[in-house]
Each structure stands twice: as structure tokens, then as C-alpha cells.
Amino acid sequence: MTVSPALDNRFREAAAAAGLLDVAYDLTDSPIGTLLLATTDRGLCRISFDPQPDREAEWLARTFGVRVLRATKPVEPVRRQLNEYFEATRTLFELPVDLRQSAPFSREILERLARVPHGETTTYGALARAAGRPQAARAVGTVMNRNPIPIVLPCHRVVGANGSLVGYAGGLERKEQLLKLEGALDNTLL
């Protein structure tokens, strides 16, 4: 007995509308590949590249609670703003984020990162200095590498002191694509 898509969707959206979910997630297409988007009642909590939904659901369940379900509506604002960003009609994300799973240092760095404007870049060292930890450039690199919400928290805007792209959890090619989209690539030495 196979459940029809209509019946299935009705349950998923009703569960979300009733406020019964710890996490709602969905997949979306983008110019840099399929993305998985996840939100809690506090805000956006995860964006992942090349997602394996089963593994992501496990991580989300461990981190935010087991009531994890794919549902379209709760992630709609995120999907819409990302589409606008990729169409180059949006330069600023207006989305609450849920960083409760991040350690205090990570959270502080990610919050500073969120204020690096579209079209500009900063360096690992500059972020470390801004946080009052000038020696912590490497630790900042680790925080960038584990950024749970790439694109919206723009770790692609963080480059090496000499302007090299250094690294990106989603692959350097994507970092380059995002910076190109933002018109920020000219400022860096490639």
C-alpha cells in the first residue's frame, strides 16, 4: 500500500504547522548544486552541499532533537532568499539563524562573519584579531571549515592574508563561484 504524494505532503505540512517538529528540512536546487536546508523554531540551522539526507537527518536529530521531518513550507523563506541571492537580486540575508550547537568561540566568530558584507573579503587573521584573539587565525580556519550554515554565514568571504582562497568545506571551486557571483574576486590574488 503506497502512500500518495498528496497524503504524504498533507501530513508533513500539518506536522510543521502544528509546531511539532524539532527540525524541518528540504532539498533545493542551486547553481552550485543541490543544497539541503534545515530550520528549527529559532531559525536556519543547517545548509549542506552534496547532501546525503539520511546522514544529515541523523546529525540534525542528534543536535536538535529526533523530531526531524522533510517539509517544504518552513524552509520556504530560506529557499526564496537563496534564489534571490543566486539571481544577484539580493546582497543581504534576512534570516534568523540557530547556532545553539556551536561552542561560544565558534558562535562569536560566526556572528562576526555574518557582518562581512557581500562583495568584500576578509582574512582569517582579521577575524581572529576582531575577536580579540590575534593568535587564533588557525582556530578561525577550523570554525570556517565547520560552519553549519555556509553561504548565509559567508565563510567563502574569508581568504588568506596573501589573498589566496585557501580552502572551503564545499570545495574551492564553489568558493570561487560564490565570490565571482558577488564580484569580489578581483580583490584577491588568484
Binding site: M1, L7, E58, R67
Partner: protein
């Protein structure tokens, strides 16, 4: 990171939904099974966060489904279905969430689930953790509040 005592709800749901629907159709027939399906999984979802282990999840959800079916059969025998509260013009689905946005939480959920997702009051009760009657009350006082506001 917490140890997971049960799998993410998504995998539980995917694994058991077909069997649940099959059982409900067998007990209630095709039409009525759909409503009971919503009620069953909303009940399961409410309880899911406090499950201690993943033993016999199939048996657990089937028990919920059968209880829902039995309740539904009893209700139909006991009383004719209540007439719907008269809503002059049902707000279009897309506007509903926004319209209902600043209703009290329970009323908002009841209104959206009833008129947006066409769920039965029994299923809405399951979602809200209250009775069918309380769900009906919440929806109708939400609708009254909306009407007053729109006048």
C-alpha cells in the same frame, strides 16, 4: 552530541507509513483511512520525542493506528458527524497562515490545520495533544476572532 535512542522521525515515518496506511484501509476503508492516517502519525510525532528505545517501533505505531481506527468507528456509531461551523468565505489557503499569524498558538494551529490542511478535529486534537472537542473549540474561537478582526 546526544546519543540517539530512536532514529530521526523521517526514517521512522518512511519505514512504516505504507504499512500503517494498509492497516487503516483494511479497518476503515479507503476514504476514512486518510484521516486516520494523519491522526496516527500526528499522535506518533507528539510522543516520539519521549521514546526511550527503538525496539518494536512497528508494533508501537500499529497500536496507535488501531486505536485511532477503533475510536473512529465508535464515534461514527455513537453520533452523526457534527455539522461544520459555518464559515462564510473560507480564506484561501495561502493567506490563511498569515491571517492567523497573531492568534493564540493553539487557535492558530487549529485554524490552519482545519481550513488550510483540511484535517479532522480528531487529527487536530492529536496534533495539539488535546481532545477532539477542545480542537473544535479552538478552531471555532479562532475563526470568531478572525471574523471580528476582519469586520
Amino acid at each position: 552530541m546526544a546519543f540517539l535512542s530512536v532514529p530521526p522521525f523521517e526514517s521512522f515515518y518512511e519505514q512504516h507509513r505504507d504499512a500503517v496506511l494498509g492497516e487503516l484501509r483494511r479497518l476503515l476503508g479507503r476514504e476514512r483511512a486518510e484521516d486516520a492516517y494523519q491522526e496516527t502519525f500526528l499522535k506518533a510525532l507528539r510522543a516520539y520525542g519521549s521514546l526511550r528505545n527503538a525496539d518494536n517501533l512497528r508494533a508501537w505505531v500499529m497500536t496507535i493506528a488501531r486505536r485511532v481506527a477503533v475510536d473512529q468507528l465508535r464515534r461514527r456509531e455513537a453520533s452523526p458527524p457534527d455539522p461544520e461551523p459555518a464559515v462564510d468565505s473560507r480564506p484561501a489557503y495561502a493567506e490563511l497562515g498569515e491571517l492567523a499569524d497573531d492568534l493564540p498558538r493553539k487557535e492558530r494551529a487549529a485554524v490552519v490545520l482545519r481550513y488550510g490542511y483540511d484535517l479532522s478535529y480528531a487529527a487536530i486534537g492529536a496534533a495539539l495533544g488535546s481532545s477532539e472537542d477542545a480542537a473544535r473549540q479552538a478552531a471555532s474561537s479562532g475563526v470568531r476572532r478572525l471574523r471580528r478582526r476582519m469586520q
